[in-house]
């Protein structure tokens, strides 16, 4: 990677737009679909993930010299899981209502591909300052994406935003949007719009999963429609 790509502001912009984890990388689908039932939940999830991302990126970057290469993945897992546990308890203590509505999705941040992916792709190779800002950028990008989806679902599906009614009385909320099918629908339309406008994942034709920390393509949601090498990996999966 070129040097100026590691500058703090560059990292932040990267996470928000260039490589937005939800719309460009299509990672972390589980929490994206599950926790966007309202704008509040979306922000709660986004910010917790950001906190963990920054913390684990920092820690991994600091410890990368000490961790032997073979023990890499298990150590990352332990580090990430520890921070998740910490954040879990902090949320339970300070934001109990958000904690209650997010449920098991908070501990599930451990298996969020974004965190492991960034650890592998970035924090494991770069210095602590860049890693912190990379985590911040990805986290903010994730949070913004979640907020966008959550807002649409909440406004259309319940007529409220952050719990406050903002639609006119004549508007009848379409309940489906805050339920499971609505999540799939909203996600589909957002990605379709991005494809149409040629932003997001549709722009990228140079995506190399191995370079970006994905363990391999087969468990990835984008398998078969990613612009980069994974199309070849699909042949492996088929066999």
């Amino acid at each position: 990677m070129k040097d100026n790509k590691d500058k703090p502001l560059e990292r932040i912009w990267n996470g928000i737009y260039v490589e937005n984890p939800v719309f460009c990388l299509i990672l972390g689908m589980c929490p994206t679909l599950a926790t966007t039932t309202s704008a509040t939940n979306a922000i709660g999830m986004g910010l917790s993930t950001t906190a963990i991302l920054v913390a684990s990126n920092l820690m991994i970057s600091l410890l990368k010299g000490i961790i032997p290469n073979r023990m890499r993945i298990p150590s990352y897992i332990v580090i990430i899981a520890s921070f998740v546990t910490i954040v879990e308890f902090l949320m339970e203590g300070f934001f109990p209502s958000v904690y209650a509505s997010l449920g098991i999705y908070i501990p599930l941040i451990v298996v969020n591909c974004i965190i492991m992916g960034r650890a592998e792709a970035y924090a494991g190779k770069k210095g602590p300052v860049e890693s912190v800002f990379d985590g911040l950028g990805m986290g903010i990008g994730f949070t913004l994406a979640l907020l966008l989806i959550g807002s649409v679902r909440e406004i259309v599906g319940a007529g409220t935003w952050f719990g406050a009614k903002i639609t006119p009385a004549i508007y009848e909320p379409v309940n489906l949007f805050i339920l499971a099918p609505g999540a799939f629908l909203v996600m589909a339309f957002f990605v379709a719009i991005m494809n149409k406008l040629k932003i997001g994942a549709a722009r990228r034709t140079d995506w190399d999963p191995t370079e970006n920390g994905c363990a391999d393509c087969s468990s990835c949601a984008k398998l078969g429609f990613c612009g980069g090498k994974p199309a070849a990996a699909e042949e492996e999966v088929k066999a």
Binding site: P74, S82, T85, P181, A192, N195, D216, S219, L223
Partner: protein, 189 residues
């Protein structure tokens, strides 16, 4: 009778993928061909059941007696990762046919949120080791059902004339949305 209801609920009513959004990545990624989908479904069933059992045992016999419940997230994810490794080695050596059949799907299951998710739900709902394992098994059956159905639909859709912006990821999401609506019927049981 209660177990039956639990099983039905786990598999169909609160379907792990279409209602709880666990295992979405594998669901979307491996459902292009029915053979891969069914293979993945069986692999997940195998690992999920085993993981529910082992995590349940560790939780009840190790974490709870020592008051270490807060370590469950760390413990469970390490167990799952280790379990998958172990199962892979074991199968490769002793049941080669099954190993070949499951193939590459085994290692992918570590990051499948359904596995960790179910282990955590078992704790959250205070299931006994037996109940938790049964719940895990039927949850995985739900995953198998969902991914199989989706793969056959996707195979049929392969030559459809989908609008360009929706090709690939979006139309699969829409298919999942429609499947999710179809599974809603079961919520009245």
């Amino acid at each position: 009778m209660n177990i039956m209801l639990l099983a039905l609920s786990a598999a169909l009513i609160n379907n792990v993928v279409l209602s709880q959004f666990l295992g979405i990545c594998a669901f979307l990624g491996v459902s292009k061909k029915s053979k891969s989908a069914i293979g993945m479904g069986f692999a997940v069933t195998f690992v999920l059941t085993l993981a529910s059992l082992v995590c349940g045992i560790i939780y009840h016999f190790l974490l709870v007696p020592f008051g270490l419940q807060y370590l469950k997230t760390i413990a469970f994810i390490l167990i799952v990762a280790a379990l998958v490794q172990f199962v892979e080695m074991f199968l490769k050596k002793f049941v080669k046919s099954l190993y070949d059949a499951l193939g590459i799907y085994l290692p992918l299951i570590t990051t499948n949120c359904a596995v960790l998710g179910v282990a955590l739900i078992n704790v959250q709902k205070d299931y006994s080791i037996f109940t938790g394992t049964v719940y895990g098994f039927f949850t995985a059956v739900g995953f198998l059902v969902a991914i199989t159905i989706l793969s056959y639909i996707r195979e049929k859709m392969e030559f459809n004339n989908v609008p360009k912006a929706f090709q690939g990821f979006p139309i699969v999401m829409i298919t999942a949305a429609l499947m999710s609506i179809a599974f809603f019927g079961f919520s009245s049981f």
